[in-house]
């Protein structure tokens, strides 16, 4: 496999290095162009996210190609010695493994996260548009998307939520089936409150009221998220209206008491109420937990659930790794088999040409111009070629499929004066057996 990957990620490099090397989406096309000057790169793609900056390349010579990419990185970083310590490099099968793991979010900061797939697709798209990536990298990346899709569908790696706001929203869904008709009150107007509102709006919630000690801040947030602001002092009047309450103030003592909620539940006729208290110190009295039809989750509960979910994802990641290994083995086998196909085709063509020429000459000398005898000659020539090449064909296919023996392919080419196939052409082969719906 001719793939090369060079770069750094959140594990190998501190944020200062990654910041220096990162490429914004606006500058991506320009940076791709800069790699054109580097030796030995036939095709290349830059993948730059908040957790990694990598160059994927189809190279003529891996060593020269790696030097070229490192040179490019060095041109963007003042401290070359420091940079060298943090870069990694993968070639061939290792590079393919890395690409598959990245696309499947196994190499992500949060395993199973959904953004990386889109980011990899975007990187491919820009490179293809710029004309610096072609059939070879396109083939590798499409294969990676297929694998990522299988990982997502055949494992539960993406099933469990891994952030506090998304876990909170999932818990709301355990009580209420539909989000659209819900009434939500947000107490506090800080960053976490806004994040929670955005998650809820993403699920279709439209009835939102925001209460904050500073009414102006409540109005500002309400305007940003198309909600309505209420006075903090009148918050308890709205308790019976809300199906979900998200508390995130900086209050030193609880702002929602058990007594207030008992009263609110009576007015709500005991309709369920979900309270998400992400403040520290807590905004809601702990005794509220014991109220019927009230479901209270504080920050510790949410973090515990997140940590359980991440453990569950890690378990699924092991299954995903096995899936990837199996796919790499199949991919490798398919690639090496492809090596034999053009050789066999060329050999057959050569033999057929020679046998047909001689048969033509013999037919002329014998005065055979058409009819049954002509047909007999043609059948005979085909049969000669098939019989002569049957054993070599089987042996060639067997040697690359079972023994991964590419020397026999090379020897056959030398023996019969054929051109050795370029390995990279196989991956770009339109007859890939795994072509299908590549988009995840």
């Amino acid at each position: 496999m001719s793939l090369l990957v060079t770069g750094c990620n959140f594990r190998s490099a501190p944020i200062e290095i990654r910041e220096t090397l990162s490429v914004s989406s606006q500058n991506l096309a320009v940076e791709l162009e800069k790699l054109r000057e580097r030796e030995s790169l036939k095709e290349w793609i830059i993948l730059s996210t908040c957790n990694r900056v990598e160059v994927y390349a189809d190279v003529i010579d891996p060593m020269l190609g790696a030097l070229g990419v490192q040179d490019y990185f060095a041109s963007r970083c003042a401290d070359i010695a420091e940079l060298q310590r943090h870069l990694y490099r993968y070639e061939g099968e290792e590079a393919v493994r890395h690409l598959f793991r990245v696309a499947s979010s196994l190499d992500s900061l949060v395993v199973g996260e959904a953004q990386i797939s889109g980011q990899v697709k975007e990187a491919l798209h820009v490179a293809l548009t710029k004309g610096v990536a072609g059939k070879v990298l396109h083939g590798y990346f499409q294969r990676a998307f297929n694998v990522a899709k299988r990982v997502r569908t055949e494992t539960e790696i993406a099933r469990h939520h891994a952030s506090v706001p998304s876990v909170a929203i999932e818990l709301v869904g355990r009580v209420f089936e539909n989000y659209e008709p819900l009434s939500v009150m947000i107490v506090g107007a800080g960053e976490m409150a806004e994040l929670a509102v955005q998650h809820l709006i993403g699920r279709g919630v439209s009835r939102i009221r925001i209460a904050n000690r500073g009414y102006d801040r409540a109005c500002a947030l309400a305007e940003r998220v198309s909600a309505s602001a209420i006075e903090f002092s009148s918050m308890t009047d709205h308790l019976s209206w809300a199906d979900v309450i998200v508390c995130s103030t900086g209050s030193a003592s609880p702002i929602l008491t058990r007594l207030e909620l008992v009263d609110a539940m009576k007015r709500r006729k005991q309709r369920p109420l979900v309270i998400v208290d992400i403040a520290i110190p807590r905004d809601v009295e702990a005794e509220v937990r014991d109220l019927e039809n009230v479901f209270l989750f504080d920050i510790d509960d949410l973090k515990q659930i997140v940590s359980e979910n991440l453990r569950a994802r890690q378990k699924e990641a092991e299954k995903a790794e096995q899936l990837i290994e199996k796919d790499i083995a199949e991919f490798h086998q398919w690639l090496t088999q492809q090596n034999a196909v053009p050789v066999i085709r060329e050999l057959r063509s050569r033999f057929t040409q020679v046998v047909k020429q001689e048969a033509e000459r013999a037919a002329k000398q014998m005065g055979i111009n058409g009819g049954q005898e002509r047909k007999l000659f043609e059948t005979m020539t085909d049969a000669i070629v098939n019989k002569l090449l049957h054993v070599p064909t089987v042996n060639l296919k067997h040697s690359v499929a079972e023994d991964s023996d590419e020397d026999l392919v090379a020897a056959t080419c030398k023996l019969f004066g054929l051109d050795e196939p370029a390995l990279s052409e196989s991956i770009a082969n339109e007859d890939s057996p795994h072509k299908g719906n590549h988009e995840t």
Binding site: F176, R271, P272
Partner: protein
């Protein structure tokens, strides 16, 4: 019991057992594909039970003649009602309760010897049959309500104790479960009321039937479900308390059925 009746009994029981195992495995998330298979086996179990009823009919014992037939009918209606509900609602966890319940009623029906209910020969046949069919329908609706309420209680407890991973993806939200249970109670209550009335009238007409302890329990069951419906409207009783009352009401029905079962088995 002839061979065809035995065959349908064994086959139906096996299917119900497999369905139970598959529902449990589906809930434990060993493999979600088990859930789809569980529904199929539950359906097959229902078909087996239906065929079993058919063989009894051939032998002259139709389901509205005695306790055995009524038990079979209850099991069948519960399975049919559950499967119909799952067309729209994902009730995997409830299935793990429904399939063993169906199995128990099926086996219990097989154990109870056939005997025409007393005094059907006295001309009260229509009233008796009406009572049995109403009981079967009403009890089945309450059984479904109780199964869903049980799932509600389990899920609510898991959520309150932050055991979020339990039941994840295998059941509906708590409010949906609460609403479904309420609907089954609303459907079952008027039917059960008519069953109690027809039962009382039947008892009055047939002087041979003395007052029994089961009748007292039936009255209590009626009061419990009447309470669940009324309190929901008046005080907003819902959620945990409503679920506990519903389950308790069905447990009381279970006591009644057990007494009828024991009485028939002992009488031989």
């Amino acid at each position: 019991m002839d061979s065809l009746t035995m065959l349908t009994l064994v086959v139906g029981a096996i299917f119900y057992t497999i369905a139970t195992v598959m529902y449990v495995l589906g809930i434990l998330r060993i493999d979600d594909a088990f859930v789809a298979q569980a529904r199929r086996f539950l359906l097959l179990g229902g078909v087996g039970q239906l065929l079993n009823i058919g063989t009894h009919c051939i032998d002259g014992f139709h389901p509205l003649m005695d306790v055995s037939g009524a038990l079979n009918l209850i099991g069948l209606i519960v399975v049919g009602g559950y499967l119909a509900t799952t067309i729209k609602f994902k009730l995997t966890t409830t299935g793990a309760l429904i399939s063993p319940l169906a199995l128990v009623t099926f086996l219990a029906a097989a154990m109870v010897p056939h005997s025409a209910v007393e005094d059907l020969q006295n001309g009260s046949m229509m009233l008796g049959k009406l009572h049995l069919v109403l009981i079967a329908l009403g009890v089945s609706a309450f059984a479904l309500a109780a199964a869903i309420s049980t799932v509600y209680l389990l899920q609510e407890s898991a959520l309150k104790h932050k055991r979020v991973a339990l039941f994840g993806g295998q059941s509906m939200a708590l409010m949906t479960l609460d609403t479904l249970a309420r609907r089954f109670v609303l459907v079952g209550f008027p039917i059960f009321t008519m069953a109690v009335v027809t039962g009382y009238l039947w008892m009055k007409r047939t002087e041979a039937m003395a007052f029994r302890f089961e009748h007292l329990i039936a009255a209590c069951v009626w009061l419990m479900f009447a309470g669940v419906i009324s309190l929901r409207q008046i005080t907003g009783l819902r959620g945990r308390k409503a679920a506990i009352l519903t389950v308790s009401g069905f447990c009381a029905i279970g006591v009644i059925l057990t007494l009828y079962f024991l009485r028939r088995v002992i009488a031989g």
